[in-house]
Symmetry: C2
Subunit: 152 residues, 2 copies
Amino acid sequence: MTAPHTGPALAAPNLGAAVSALRARGFRVSSARRLVLESLYGAGEPLSAERIAGGLEGRFPVSDLASVYRNLETLEELGLVRHFHLGHGPGLYAPAGEEKEYLLCESCHELRAVDPSELDGARTLIQEELGFRARFTHFPIVGLCPACEGSA
Amino acid sequence: MTAPHTGPALAAPNLGAAVSALRARGFRVSSARRLVLESLYGAGEPLSAERIAGGLEGRFPVSDLASVYRNLETLEELGLVRHFHLGHGPGLYAPAGEEKEYLLCESCHELRAVDPSELDGARTLIQEELGFRARFTHFPIVGLCPACEGSA
DNA sequence: TTAAATGCAAAGCTTTTGCAATACT
DNA sequence: AGTATTGCAAAAGCTTTGCATTTAA
């Protein structure tokens, strides 16, 4: 928690840039920390801490879960990583940047990832009507998918 | 979990109606179960299971946490109760019906409850554009409140 | 009477914390 | 060399489960 430096969010487009950002801010690049970044950038999908610590089914060495959590926290404070929740399971982590927003059907539990631009209409409307700048990135939008809405 | 009857959701406007609904469906009205309902209808605000079991600061007798959870689950399956999450804390429970939807500022953590009608514009737009019927009742909409949006 | 529901204890799952040992810079 | 970071172990916070006992109907 006591970090050499803490500043505003910055997203890195790839592993190398993330490592540079760490060094530039005075953070060490330990093997455990590098492993977390490699997993996140290598997976191409959001990961749970457990999955990262487990080595991503053989693609990476197994590592300590507590350290993974600590690194994810550090990386998130730095703005290199974000986490979100899709339901009652563990939190999911991904490199900051290429955010997706999620629609979760409360009936059939189908999960649909959409590009933020697809929700810009709603975002604008909410901002105009309520003054609130919505980011649907931390929790999914829960509701009924077209199929379940139809049969309701 | 093995219930005498399970059917579609029904909201009850008050304690008496909820008790009747229970009986009508063949569920027993035990003192523990009644206590959960009394707390939920009496509080006027969403409650955690822990708070219900704790007797709501003296307003009700202390009861068993596991039973509270089991009853909340039963009542939710029946459609008399719903639960939602506002952040990383425990789930919150309230009588079904008078739903609120929540806006949570990710910067100052201000929580704003809004009437569902205030989000109907956005709901309609999302339905038109994505075919998805959004209910912002299980997770809050996370983003920036007017004040924090202004200073960003 | 009898099966639903309780109360207690224990465990499960996710995340956090304390601390001595290690390793990055 | 000095301190950020690790690895291990233990605990914390929320929720679920097993089971013998109680109780509503």
